[in-house]
């Protein structure tokens, strides 16, 4: 693979199980040495894409090349270039952390001395030295993730695929993982990750693809996507129902919640926009006020016309119009 060739090229990818279409013509290109985030809710087809580019699944149609190799005709070439950390922990729970890493080093055909030093280095780098000789079964969720990732990286793959890598992690482990991803990119590794959270994609990705109902409905940098999504809003907490009612009249486009005494007023986050929201409020009746930026739900609402948690069956993929 030369520097000018993209690390991942997907064109016209389709996949269905029976009459259920999972991927409906996906096109995406990831340049070498960059981070690409696939953003979408459960069932959008993120994991299916990861499984196809990691040779676990065969596509129905489409041209898919990873590291310059065709996933169908040259799967061994693809496998030699990639490292995959899936949604479910891919560690051997009966083995210790050290034995798990040693297993990966042996399968990467390292010689004995290199394997030993590399395993020790990985244990240190992933903060697993203290637990190295305990069975992985006894590890916490964060430790299992770190071991999983260390096993993926020990063979120094040129491309890594991370399927919802931070699912179930606490905020600190999440930041640690982002740091590891950035380190890899600094070394020239290409990263494709999937996530349900815009802020996560925002943190680490160069480009973001928004996946919905098996289609890529939008693509761009985090800033580009946010510009296309006027999804920010101001959330206002009222002291009583009368104050809420008065505010609803002043902001007909807002969403009230009579139980919680709150009102969500759409706002683009600019000073002028915020001023317009405040002008419609009576300061005696307001208990608290927060400014929220666009989140995944806003992105979805804007790009697909339906909320991210709406079942796909309510809006058949064929009727969706990409924004």
């Amino acid at each position: 693979m030369t520097a000018t060739n993209p690390a991942i090229e997907v064109a016209g990818l389709t996949k269905s199980y029976g009459d259920q279409t999972v991927l409906d013509g996906v096109n995406l290109t990831v340049p070498a040495g960059t981070v690409y985030a696939l953003l979408g809710p459960n069932g959008a087809g993120k994991t299916t894409i990861v499984n196809i580019i990691s040779t676990l699944l065969t596509p129905d149609n489409g041209e898919i090349r990873v590291a310059g190799f065709d996933v169908r005709r040259e799967p061994a070439g693809v496998r030699a270039a990639i490292g995959v950390t899936g949604q479910f922990s891919a560690i051997d729970e009966l083995l210790t952390g050290r034995e798990n890493l040693r297993l990966m080093a042996d399968l990467a055909h390292m010689n004995r001395a290199t394997a030993t030093t590399t395993v020790t280095a990985m244990l240190e780098r992933f903060d697993l030295v203290g637990a190295a000789d305990r069975r992985a079964q006894t590890y916490s969720g964060g430790m299992k993730r770190r071991l999983d990732l260390a096993m993926t990286l020990i063979a120094r793959p040129r491309l890594i695929f991370l399927d919802e890598p931070t699912a179930g992690l606490d905020p600190r482990s999440r930041r640690d993982l982002w740091a590891i991803v950035r380190e890899q990119v600094a070394e020239g590794v290409t990263v494709l990750l999937t996530t349900q959270y815009l802020d996560e994609a925002d943190q680490v990705a160069d480009r973001i693809g928004v996946l919905d109902g098996g289609r890529l409905v939008a693509e761009g940098t985090a800033a580009e996507l946010k510009r296309r999504v006027p999804g920010g809003h101001v959330s206002v907490q009222f002291t009583d129902a009368a104050a809420l009612a008065a505010a609803v009249t002043a902001h007909p486009g807002a969403t009230p919640d009579a139980e919680a005494l709150t009102l969500q007023v759409p706002s683009d986050g600019s000073i002028a926009g915020l001023r317009r929201v405040l002008d419609g409020l009576d300061d005696d009746g307001v208990a608290a006020l927060t400014v929220e930026s666009a989140d995944l739900d806003d992105v979805f609402l804007a790009l697909t016309g339906h909320a991210s948690d709406a079942p796909a069956s309510q809006t058949p993929a064929s009727e969706e119009v990409p924004a």
Binding site: Y17, S54, T55, L56, L57, T58, A76, R79, A80, I82, V84, G86, F88, S89, A90, I91, D92, E93, L94, L95, E99, L103, D106, L107, H109, R135, M151, T152
Partner: protein, 264 residues
């Protein structure tokens, strides 16, 4: 994938399986206990009466004669018992996430299976040694020479190899670990309808035909000849033929099941 790398990956996977056996010994202990319980049951509960019914002895045999008669069958049952455990451990392994990782790696894929088979054959070797020790403890004596014993060991390992490939396939084909622990049960039943516990001549015609023509009978008869120092005759070739056939079918079946793209 070159042969050298396939061998290397298989050795790595074998080490993984041996660690599993060490970390989870209760399954192995249960599998060895099973034939020992049968041995004690048949020798001490049925042995007196069954020994008296053995043909070819003046006034019938005794308990020790019966022990000598069933020892080969018990050893083959030991092999079958460990093979049954391999179906369970293979099915369990397939439910773990690391198998998906192996599938995304540039390794000899079949090594995942050869690791299981070689691990199981080593486990069978240990089990056979333990059960043989028990058999001798209960009073088994034989005139067999070292060469006969070597032949007996080789035959038992060959049976282990063939039954293990078959049960690895059953473990892969099973949709759950529960299924995997049930489907190979026939391997424990079949030796009862063979020459293991009574001479086939004592059975009614239809059953006798089945008993004489099923694979366990030539295996057990060959083993019985070897451990008593007698020439095994044509049964030897029949036993080897069955083992080769079962190994080959088991290997091809398992390979096909494992290499196929997962359904989902």
């Amino acid at each position: 994938m070159s042969t050298a790398l396939t061998v290397r990956d298989s050795a790595t996977m074998l080490r993984r399986n041996l660690l599993h056996i060490r970390r989870y010994p209760s399954l192995s202990i249960m599998l060895v206990a099973q034939p020992i319980v049968f041995l004690l049951l048949f020798v001490y509960v049925f042995g007196g009466t069954m020994g008296a019914g053995l043909p070819g002895r003046e006034g019938g045999g005794d308990r020790t004669d019966y022990l000598v008669y069933i020892a080969p069958g018990i050893l083959v049952m030991t092999v079958a018992s460990v093979a049954l455990g391999t179906a369970i451990s293979t099915a369990t392994d397939m439910t773990t996430g690391i198998i998906a990782r192996f599938r995304t790696m540039d390794i000899a894929r079949v090594s995942v299976l050869t690791g299981h088979v070689l691990g199981a054959v080593i486990k069978t070797g240990c089990a056979v040694v333990i059960v043989t020790a028990f058999v001798f403890l209960l009073g088994f004596r034989s005139d067999a020479g070292p060469l006969d014993w070597l032949g007996a060991i080789a035959l038992l390992m060959l049976i282990a190899f063939s039954l293990t490939w078959l049960t690895v396939g059953m473990g892969l084909a099973a949709d759950s670990v529960e299924t995997a622990s049930n489907t190979p049960l026939f391997l424990m039943i079949l030796p009862f309808i063979s020459s293991a516990f009574v001479p086939t001549e004592a059975m009614p015609a239809g059953l006798r035909w089945f008993a004489e023509n099923q694979p366990f009978t030539p295996m057990i008869d060959t083993l019985r000849a070897l451990v008593s120092g007698a020439p095994p005759g044509s049964d030897l070739w029949l036993a080897i033929g069955w083992c080769v056939l079962i190994s080959l079918l088991g290997y091809l079946w398992s390979r096909r099941l494992f290499l196929r793209v997962p359904a989902k």
